[in-house]
Amino acid sequence: MLDPAAAVPAGIINPDGGQAAKRFDVYRNNVAVSLSDALEAAFPIVRKLVGDQFFRAMAGIYLRKHPPKSPLMMFYGHAMPQFLRRFPPAQTLGYLPDIAAVELALRHAYHAADATPVTPQEFADLAPDALMGVRLRIAPAVQTVASSYPIHAIYRANTSDTAPKPVMQAEAILITRPAFDPELHRINAAAATCIEALKSGQTLGQAMATADDTLDLGQVLGLLLAQSAVTEIY
């Protein structure tokens, strides 16, 4: 169905009982176009970065290599970061796979389960000596992407007219969803590591120990609490 060069199956006929190659191609074309359209809708910033022509050609290869396994098209394209990492024409755009990962994470955040956050007061009420032993349940919408490229600046530059020009440096992104719209925050790699450790159920002390000394734990917790990203202290 996805191979444009494959022969039309036997037994498919037009009203006169003759060959129906073009009629069969309507289906073949619908399948390829609908999958390509789904990828375009899913990765608008990747598309903007590479241009329409490159994106269409790339999508055509992707959809044949990774046809959807599920009817949930909202999550189609999950292999895009890995695909782009190995896609020869994209080798000069090292940041592209990480931008695709950000777009995937935004979609997952958008569709993630709703959750009721704890109040900052609940956190403030913890006894100081208990602090490092607690675990934080993180809202399902919360995602991080860490990159050796300035992914936050690149994302901003392609979504806002007033954003500054990206400067070459490593950046990480935290995605939260305080209400219905996912929000992007620039964080550093240590903060991303710490948040992923918290998501996996490690205590605050353990999560802190996974990150290097560039971690500002107070800032990370302040951001998570302000963004309704903590749903339970346990």
């Binding site: 498919i12 309507v26 399948v31 789904a38 959807p68 396994k69 009817p71 389960a113």
Partner: protein, 297 residues
């Protein structure tokens, strides 16, 4: 193993107000999020909304919240596009469970799927692909429909496809195939009159004759949509069911012909690609409303 056959109440029998609400015999529209505010502010004669099941299978967020809100105001029809009921493979039980979950919490006025396939060898093709009509495919599709109705726990409507080609191996007509499915499974039918027009043009048959042969008593809903016009390699007309344009006059005429036989039915305007402003859809809804008024007069 003993197989228990469960009989589902026909839509007309489900009038208990504590039960599932019915789709009213009024115009409905395929819901698009960009029309949310317009629908709430100026629905006009709009009587119900249809959603694509697969778009509401995320865990939460805005789509689910909006749907809850819409369901407080309008009867909802859940229209699945991904179950592959016409496929050779077993049904995807994970997907079936997701459908059961959605229908369970939403309690929609109607639930429908397509006489088509979209999944083969665990690859999902995101399109509605055709099947030949034989005793073998009839048995398989009936088994799938029974399984869906058993799991989801209610009657489903099955939609007639739009066809671009025919299968040499088919031994029965589409209308006989559908009639037999209704008899074997107790499912209802969703009659898409644009699909009838598209298929009849492409296969050079009569759309009125198709309607005459259609098991009209089983119809629980009617679809209307736009199509694109092309030609095949012999120069014969080839219509493509794109859902990206206004409904054409011959399809409105075919609707009148159908309603004269069926009586008033819930009528859906489907517009899924190049989705226009609400004012354009409102005009289509008004025309559907006028067609219904004519039958009632």
């Amino acid at each position: 193993m003993i197989h228990l056959t469960i009989t589902y109440p026909k839509a007309a029998a489900m009038l208990d107000a504590t039960q599932t609400p019915l789709l009213p015999a009024r115009p409905g529209v395929g819901y698009k999020a960009q029309h949310y505010a317009d629908i709430m502010a100026s629905p006009g004669p709009l009587g119900w909304l249809e959603i694509h099941a697969e778009n509401y299978m995320g865990d939460g967020g805005r789509p689910i919240a909006q749907l809850r809100h819409l369901a407080e105001r309008f009867p909802i029809s859940v229209h699945g596009v991904g179950l592959s009921i016409g496929g050779e493979d077993d049904l995807d039980t994970d997907h079936l469970a997701r459908l059961k979950h959605l229908v369970g919490w939403l309690n929609p006025a109607s639930f429908s799927e397509h006489l088509a396939w979209s999944t083969h060898d665990s690859h999902f093709y995101n399109d509605l692909l055709p099947l030949p009509y034989t005793t073998q495919t009839l048995t398989r599709v009936a088994t799938h429909i029974n399984q869906v109705q058993d799991v989801v726990g209610r009657q489903m409507l099955l939609e007639n496809p739009s066809s671009y080609l025919a299968f040499a191996e088919s031994t029965m007509s589409e209308t006989d195939f559908l009639r037999e499915l209704v008899a074997r499974t107790g499912c209802g039918l969703l009659l898409d009159v644009n699909n009838v027009f598209v298929s009849a043009t492409n296969l050079q048959t009569s759309p009125q004759a198709y309607i005459d042969a259609f098991p009209i008593d089983a119809v629980g809903e009617i679809h209307l949509g736009g199509h694109d016009e092309d030609q095949d390699e012999t120069g014969a007309p080839l219509l493509i069911d794109s859902h990206g344009k206004a409904v054409v006059d011959p399809v409105w005429a075919l609707l009148d012909y159908t309603l004269a036989k069926s009586g008033p039915k819930p009528l859906l305007i489907e517009w899924d690609t190049d989705v226009p402003d609400w004012s354009v859809l409102s005009a289509e809804i008004a025309r559907a409303d006028a067609a219904l008024a004519m039958v009632l007069a």
